[in-house]
């Protein structure tokens, strides 16, 4: 589903964000991207949803070479992805249901279909009763659930999550994380950038650790590589 081959990213100011990053994520996988802030996790996710282009190397998502996409092709790619962030990125002047519906409206979906699907995904994230609430009336965990509902409303094949629990307390973190696991169990690939190592240790999911823009550890390599003699 996702394949990076020798990806480098250098910013115009000379800062190197990614160094020779290569890995492959298969259908149905749940992958943690870990590392300190500035290690390159966010940049890597941005390459996946075509917010940025690699300086060299190739990024493939669902068979498409993302690094070569332009204009509306980027828009079409993003409709097949779900993306959530640490800061939720909800529209403050719209209700939970309207925020979710927004993602469908931009695709030109029919109005009756939009309402039905928006309420279905809000129910899926456990917020059916708060569909008319504005973001400021919701807790952090609830806002992140709205963001997740928005990410899910187009039935994405891949969900990209950039520190989704970074602003949440422990209880809300557990709830959001459980929801991500449920989504993954439904067949959606989840790539989650986090520096919450407790969360990583709780599960057996694949973990890719980054440092200074390079991949320094990939649990998938360890599993397949022969152990020390």
């Amino acid at each position: 589903m996702i394949r990076l081959s020798h990806v480098h990213k250098t910013f115009p100011n000379g800062a190197v964000a990614l160094r020779d990053v290569s890995f492959h994520v298969a259908r149905g996988e749940f992958v943690f991207l870990t590392g300190h802030s500035g290690a390159g996790k966010s940049t890597l996710l941005k390459l996946l949803y075509a917010e940025q282009r690699p300086s060299s190397g190739e990024v493939r998502v669902s068979g498409h070479v993302v690094s070569g996409l332009k204009g509306d092709a980027i828009a079409r790619l993003r409709r097949r992805l779900g993306i959530i962030f640490q800061d939720f990125r909800l529209l403050e002047d719209r209700t939970a249901a309207e925020n979710v519906a927004f993602a469908l409206e931009v695709t030109g979906a029919r109005k009756d279909a939009i309402a039905a699907r928006a309420s279905r995904v809000l129910a899926q994230v456990g917020l059916a009763s708060k569909s008319r609430a504005y973001p400021r009336e919701l807790s952090g965990g609830e806002q992140q659930r709205v963001a997740m509902a928005r990410a899910l409303v187009n039935d994405p094949a891949i969900l990209l999550a950039d520190e989704p629990t970074g602003n949440l307390d422990e209880r809300a973190t557990r709830g959001v994380f459980q929801l991500l696991r449920d989504i993954n169990a439904g067949g959606t690939v989840v790539v989650m950038a986090t520096h919450d190592l407790d969360l990583v240790r709780q599960t057996e999911y694949r973990t890719i650790e980054m440092r200074d823009g390079a991949v320094v550890y990939d649990s998938a390599d360890e599993a397949s590589a022969p152990g020390p003699q």
Binding site: G38, E51, Q52, D72, I83, F102, E105, V106, N154
Partner: protein
């Protein structure tokens, strides 16, 4: 489509001050252009009235045979510049002088000999009533052997020419300057709206909105504001026109815009709004895309 309109109208509700400001500035610019247009229209009409009277008088030597005069009249009437030629006999000239020059009525009455020569009076076709053409025609008339003298208001015609040219140039320059100012103002207000909604646009892009989907409401917003500004400008012009007409009753038959002229002003507003927002949105969206790339993670 409904969504497009809703988004465009929402911006009016979200930023009422900014929206009314941009509408007002568009209206004001078009109002100024419109006022100038009104002056130009009325001046042009006044000039046309004056030009109607542009004529050339060719005095004929006494004793010229009537056949020669008749022949010459036909030839002159065939000049491409000439609208009509009239013959004024000595008697007609005297009668006219007695009628029009009341102060000299007694003097003319006592005359034993008619001092006024017969003449040909020419009027030129519209489009030839300028100093250059009048001069050419006068020169050609002097070529007739029996024509003694040719008179025309050379200076007067030249001044008329200057005035008309000046009005045209001034109108064009002022109009262009104001159009440019209005476009910049529309661009700036659209850019302010864009900045105000940068977060929303960012989110739209994240959830897969196409560039035209994002641009659409802004372009529509610009076009709507431009149209409203144009309508307001026409209304203001009409108000100004009424006030001027009331305070200056001596100006009879002042003209207001024809419906199609008013429609051109409104359409001009629409185009300015559309143009300003297109420039601003295009540049700004490219800029936002570029900035995202420069931001380190």
């Amino acid at each position: 489509m409904r969504l497009l309109f809703r988004e465009a109208l929402l911006s009016f509700r979200r930023a009422p001050v900014l929206s009314s400001l941009s509408i007002t500035t568009i209206a004001f610019s078009l109002f100024t252009i419109g006022l100038f247009g009104l002056v130009a229209i009325n001046l042009q009409r006044a000039l046309e009235g004056l030009e109607e009277r542009v004529e050339i008088v060719a005095f004929i030597m006494r004793g010229t045979p009537a056949e020669s005069i008749a022949q010459a009249s036909q030839d002159i009437a065939a000049f491409p510049e000439v609208q009509d030629v009239g013959y004024v006999s000595e008697e007609q000239a005297l009668a006219r002088a007695r009628r029009e020059l009341v102060e000299f009525r007694d003097a003319y009455r006592d005359l034993q000999v008619n001092p006024l020569p017969p003449s040909l009076e020419l009027r030129l076709k519209p489009g030839f009533r300028d100093a250059a053409h009048v001069g050419v025609v006068a020169e050609r008339l002097r070529g007739f052997s029996f024509i003694e003298d040719v008179r025309y208001g050379r200076e007067w015609i030249q001044r008329l020419d200057h005035l008309r040219n000046l009005t045209g140039i001034l109108g064009l320059v002022i109009g262009l300057v104001f159009a440019a100012v209005a476009m910049v103002i529309i661009g700036v207000t659209i850019r302010l709206t864009l900045l105000q909604r940068a977060r929303e646009i960012h989110i739209m892009r994240l959830v897969g909105a196409t560039n035209w989907f994002i641009r659409g409401p802004f372009l529509l917003e610009g076009a709507l504001k431009g149209t409203l500004g144009g309508l307001l400008a026409v209304a203001l012009c009409y108000g100004g026109f009424l006030i001027f007409r009331r305070s200056a009753e001596s100006f009879n038959g002042l003209l207001f815009f024809e419906p199609w002229q008013a429609a051109v002003i409104v359409a001009f507003g629409t185009l300015m709004g559309l143009g300003g927002s297109l420039l601003s949105v295009g540049r700004h969206l490219r800029h936002m895309g570029g900035r995202a790339d420069r931001r380190a993670s």
